[in-house]
């Protein structure tokens, strides 16, 4: 069955995967970032296909926008080698390749003619509001817990990134 949705999905998914593979295989950091953006954007595309417009928008705003930009700043403001290090041993690559192959095969057998029970659901209807309601009522506990998590992440990153000004010279 070759619906338009299917073709769109194949295209977007292909871009996402290619972006991921390129990210690993390119050697220039800037090129890597571009590859990453491709992946982020195509994942947003998949969200759109699933009628999750809000998530798609957030994906573009936060991942493709904010996170990528911050990473670019980080790269530009720090000293760095333009090229990555030499790859690891070849036996490991081969083993991982086999592993990926096996993993993919096992999953493919699982999903290629999966038949899930269909449920009636209303799509495209107050998407944002539904998410908001769920977050602030049903999932208020994990939501609040997430705020603690973000705070910890914030403090942690400051701790680890803060310039170590206390008599660094003495050590070296």
């Amino acid at each position: 069955m070759m619906s338009g949705e299917f073709i769109a999905f194949m295209g977007i998914a292909l871009v996402a995967v290619i972006g991921g593979v390129l990210l690993l295989n390119l050697s220039n950091v800037m090129h890597m970032m571009v590859a990453l953006v491709f992946t982020f954007v195509s994942i947003a595309g998949i969200y759109v296909l699933l009628s999750a417009e809000f998530v798609a928008a957030v994906q573009i705003l936060i991942y493709a926008g904010a996170i990528t930009i911050i990473m670019l700043f980080g790269i530009m403001l720090t000293r760095h080698e333009d090229t990555s290090e030499a790859p690891g041993s070849s036996w490991r690559k081969f083993a991982v390749f086999l592993g990926v192959l096996g993993f993919a095969a096992v999953l493919y057998f699982g999903i290629y003619n999966l038949d899930l029970p269909q449920m009636e659901n209303t799509l495209h209807e107050k998407n944002t509001m539904q998410i908001g309601e769920a977050l602030y009522s049903k999932f208020v506990i994990p939501f609040e817990l997430t705020s603690v998590l973000l705070l910890v992440a914030l403090i942690g990153s400051i701790m680890l990134a803060k310039k170590d000004d206390e008599k660094e010279g003495d050590k070296e």
Binding site: F109, L114, I141, E166
Partner: protein, 506 residues
């Protein structure tokens, strides 16, 4: 949902969590306003008091029937209570270790953060213990993980600490990805994140072969992903490097609290979800958990062998204890594999026993390591001559880790062992691996003993034991011996208050 409806819930059952959260917040504010020159140790003691208060308030809920808030996103059942006790006591000891930890390698600047990050990590672990919803479980897991990442790398000037933090982050990220992938399949098959609903849906699903196959795939991914937290095969390799590089209290935290939390989440997810799905379409078929228990058993066996055998070659005591901790996780997995009548008791008791013996051992490792400036095993040479009581204490703890009768470790292993025989068919192979690898473990445990008792000391300097550390040592030795000689204390507590965890799925 209206506000009244929200307020209707019995929020008071979250008191222990609120206390921990409150104390963590308080500490961060105090830390901000305290003069820079002031000693931050007082913050650590406040943290200790907070954990103690949370423990007391938890004890107050011991007779509380199963209570759930907001569709099980928070639930207090006997399983949660029993394991939260372990988490709280473990963190209490770890925080005491942290108080007496020498603040060096750039740690002095973040002494305050050092204390309250333990609390946030504990908070994450507690939420993991008492949630019936995958979302809360996952966020709790992440809170624990992210706090641990920062803690591992907190001694910035120590290269090993940096390296280990990096390794921990990368491996942790991958494990999270795998776990989530697995969980998303379960969500996809059931359409809900509530564990109870999931189990209900799956039980009545009747399932086509295809769906069951996918569910089993999810089983493996979740299991392997979560094995990162347990440090069991195949996700165990980060442990030695991270344990070695991290500051000792953090190492103790990883091997005690973090590991306990890992077992909590694994038991919660697997028993409730996979324990209720028939492995084949037929209704009376074996649950999937039992159907696939050979795989868990295989991982348990591999973990025990890897942990104990590689530990033989270690000269660094923290690395050795990393492998030993891998091995102990393997022992607990044996209990989990056998899924006998004893399983819950055995896992709970072993974690409790492991808590006592391991925290005491790390207290001594911290003390000796700070004194000798290295974690090499030779630092223990002649410890008996330098500090007889310390050496005897360490010996008791090591004997317990090795599983010698009269100590908590023995009772723990005996429980697991009996559990492995109690099922039909009995797990003879696993039980024999358990015993054989225990024998292997004597070699390295007794290597330390030989160093302490039968080697001349390099110097005769005495040890100065800080108060906090002394409390840990006394607590751990008393716990180890008391649970070894009168294990009924723990079992009575468990049986009187927690009704065999019968309300697990209510």
């Amino acid at each position: 949902m209206e506000l009244e409806q929200l307020l209707d819930f019995k929020w008071s059952i979250m008191t222990p969590e609120f206390i921990i959260l409150g104390v963590a917040t308080l500490l961060s504010i105090l830390d901000l306003f305290m003069p820079k020159s002031m000693d931050r140790k007082i913050l650590g003691w406040i943290g200790v008091a907070g954990i103690a208060a949370a423990t007391v308030s938890l004890a107050g809920f011991i007779d509380e029937p199963v209570t759930s808030i907001l569709f099980d996103t928070f639930r207090l059942d006997s399983f949660a209570k029993a394991f939260k006790f372990i988490l709280l006591i473990g963190s209490l000891f770890v925080l005491l270790l942290a108080i007496s930890f020498e603040k060096k390698d750039g740690l002095a600047e973040f002494a305050g953060e050092f204390y309250y990050l333990f609390l946030t990590a504990l908070l994450g672990a507690m939420f993991m213990a008492s949630s019936g919803d995958l979302i809360t479980l996952f966020i709790g897991l992440e809170l624990l993980t992210i706090s641990s990442w920062v803690l591992v790398g907190v001694t910035k000037r120590n290269k090993k600490s940096n390296e280990s933090a990096m390794k921990y982050v990368i491996n942790g990220g991958i494990s999270t990805a795998i776990t989530l992938f697995g969980l998303s399949y379960i969500y996809g098959l059931t359409g809900t994140t509530n564990i109870k609903d999931m189990s209900g849906t799956l039980m009545t699903m009747g399932g086509s072969q295809n769906q069951l196959y996918l569910l089993a795939i999810a089983f493996f991914m979740t299991l392997v992903g979560l094995s990162f937290k347990l440090a069991t095969a195949p996700f165990h390799m980060w442990a030695p490097d991270v344990y070695e590089g991290a500051p000792t209290p953090v190492t103790a935290f990883l091997s005690i609290v973090s590991k306990t939390a890992g077992f909590v989440i694994i038991v919660r997810i697997f028993v409730s979800i996979f324990g209720s799905v028939p492995a084949t379409g037929a209704q009376d078929a074996l649950p999937m958990l039992l159907h696939l228990q050979d795989y868990i058993g295989f991982l348990a066996g591999a973990t025990m062998i890897i942990g104990n055998v590689i530990a033989l070659r270690q000269r660094n005591i923290k690395r050795m204890f990393a492998y030993s901790s891998i091995a102990h996780a393997g022992y607990i997995l044996v209990a989990f594999t056998s899924m006998s009548y004893f399983t819950f008791d055995a896992i709970w008791f072993y974690l409790l026993a492991y808590l006592f013996m391991n925290v005491g051992a790390f207290a001594i490792i911290q003390l000796v390591g700070a004194k000798a400036g290295s974690d090499d095993i030779s630092a223990y040479a002649g410890l008996y001559r330098r500090a007889p009581i310390l050496a005897v204490t360490f010996a008791v703890l090591i004997l317990s880790l090795a599983g010698i009768p009269g100590t908590a470790g023995f009772i723990g292993k005996l429980n697991i062992f009996m559990g492995a025989f109690a099922t039909e068919p009995a797990h003879y192979v696993l039980a024999s691996i358990l015993i054989a690898t225990s024998v292997v473990s004597y070699f390295y445990y007794f290597g330390i003993m030989t160093q302490m008792f039968f080697r001349p000391a390099a110097d005769d300097s005495k040890f100065n034991i800080p108060v906090a550390l002394l409390v840990v040592l006394i607590g751990s030795v008393v716990g180890t011996i008391a649970l070894g000689i009168l294990p009924n204390i723990a079992f009575d507590f468990l049986h009187d208050n927690f009704m065999q965890f019968k309300d697990f799925l209510q």
